[in-house]
Amino acid sequence: MNAIEIERLWVKYGNVEVLKGIDLEIPKNICFAIMGPSGCGKSTLLKAMNRLLELNPDTKISGDIRLFGESVFRMDVTKVRREIGMVFQLPNPFPHMSIYDNVAFAAKCNKIAKNKKELDELVIWALKKAALYDGVKDRLKSKASQLSGGEMQRLCIARALALKPKVLLMDEPTANLDPTAAGKIEELIHELKREYTIIIVTHSPTQAARVADLVAFIYLGKVVEVGDVNEVFERPKHELTQKYVTGRIG
């Protein structure tokens, strides 16, 4: 069964059509990259999956998105967001909360852990999974704002993982990080994709080539080409795709 299936998804902000009939099948436990030039609706596509678009009342959505066969629009929205976690472009841990609380808060509200002991274990587990634990284990109570950019992003990953999702959405997660930090995140993605389905939006074709198993090339709100990463990069079927992966557009 596919992790995510998107069927004829149309998204309009007011009068502007951002996504014009997207069809995608995303299998589980892989890294699926969505690439394309800026402003083509990639972030919108991601935010449609965890129903974050609904925060803006001017958005009109039609079509269907299915999570392991079940339509997300028919599920309780809190459940959708528990199953589908998200990491944003600009690392955004809550600056007024400690590292511990950043990871624990949502997990506690969602009752992922049943008592303090389980919560402590969950936090440590999530931080380890995000390859952050060793760096912060003696300062869990210090404020999250004191971390470096790369550490912050890994904290955000830990925060999302603490909810035990099945799918992890990543919206250009390394766009604001230096190359070393970015490299660490890409390593992490390789680790995580064995257990989770990772859908990553990136505007760098080379990054897609490095981390992804499957890629989709989105241009002006439509899917131009989808396929195995090696296929799309070496033998692109569409002229636009070829131009994009060789850097002529974007």
Binding site: L52, K79, M86, F88, F94, M97
Partner: protein, 299 residues
């Protein structure tokens, strides 16, 4: 230093030297009563005016008590309401109503306080009086309700009126801070499968310094309010825990007693000493609030 600066300097000094001038003036004019009574002016509850100066004795403890009591009542009511209204305006109210609500709030924040006063005397006090009589007759064992013959002019009435006056101001501050939270944090919080209540709780934590500063500044406003309070607080020297008891606040004491103060030798100085106390309370609370707000804004 260029000539322009020199030209402007006097106006700045004048404008802000006033606060220091005030301090000095009050301090100097309180000296006679300090010499005579020492600290007793603040620690005792006596108000004895007399023909012969030797028999005069003044203590404004009741007024200090009343100022703090009424202001605390005001804050206890105003804080949750201010926060609730702020969130309501930003998150719940339909967009078209938002600007209307904000303007209405701003109008009430600037409305002449005597208008609150006239409403307090003729409308609020009678209603509270009926409630008080009911509560006294049925629950007088409860210390906060135990005052015989409640008249509607009391600590509670003053506290409620102050709460109504102070809320528009506090809510504006909290609302602005809440609206200014970067949109990303709202999105993140929702993406973590939190309910609206949980998201809001998280975001309020983000603006906690603004809320504390708003509370302090609101408290400062309550402490300094004169006419509306003096019309409904009862104006009597009374230190009593009951909501229904009448009392004094420092500002209403000054307003009320100055009329006949000059007929006595020491009363004016006693009132200046009261003014000095109010000056310090107002200063400390406002300074703390302003400093907190600025430090948070620039963090």
């Amino acid at each position: 230093m260029d000539r322009f600066k020199i030209f402007l300097l006097p106006s700045v000094y004048l404008a802000f030297g006033i606060l220091f001038l005030m301090l000095i003036t009050f301090a100097l004019n309180s000296l006679p009563i300090f010499e005579r009574e020492g600290i007793a002016i603040y620690t005792t509850n006596i108000w004895r005016a007399a023909e012969e100066p030797e028999n005069e004795f003044y203590g404004i403890l009741a007024a200090i008590y009343g100022t703090i009591y009424t202001s605390i009542i005001a804050i206890v009511i105003a804080l949750p309401v201010s926060i609730g209204l702020a969130i309501f305006v930003i998150d719940v109210a339909p967009k078209k109503f938002r600007e209307l609500l904000v303007i209405l709030t701003d109008i009430m924040a600037g409305l002449p306080t005597i208008i609150y006063g006239i409403w307090g005397v003729f409308i609020l006090a009678p209603i509270i009086s009926k409630i008080m009589i009911f509560l006294y007759e049925n629950f007088s064992f409860f210390p906060l309700f135990s005052y015989r013959n409640p008249t509607g002019f009391s600590f509670l009435t003053a506290g409620i009126l102050l709460a109504i006056m102070v809320t528009p101001f506090a809510t504006a501050l909290i609302r602005e801070a809440y609206a200014a939270i970067p949109q990303v944090y709202r999105e993140v919080a929702h993406s973590l499968a939190l309910t609206r209540y949980e998201v809001t709780k998280l975001l309020l934590g983000y603006i906690k310094p603004a809320i504390v500063a708003g509370t302090l500044l609101a408290f400062g406003r309550a402490v300094g309010e004169t006419v509306a309070v003096s019309l409904v607080v009862g104006n009597s020297f009374n230190i009593h825990p009951s909501f229904f008891a009448p009392g004094y606040t420092i500002s209403s004491l000054i307003a009320n007693q100055f009329g006949n103060a000059f007929a006595y030798s020491y009363m004016p100085y006693a009132l200046f000493a009261a003014g000095l106390a109010l000056f310090f309370i107002g200063l400390i609370v406002n300074v703390t609030g302003v400093v907190m707000l600025r430090r948070w804004k620039y963090a």
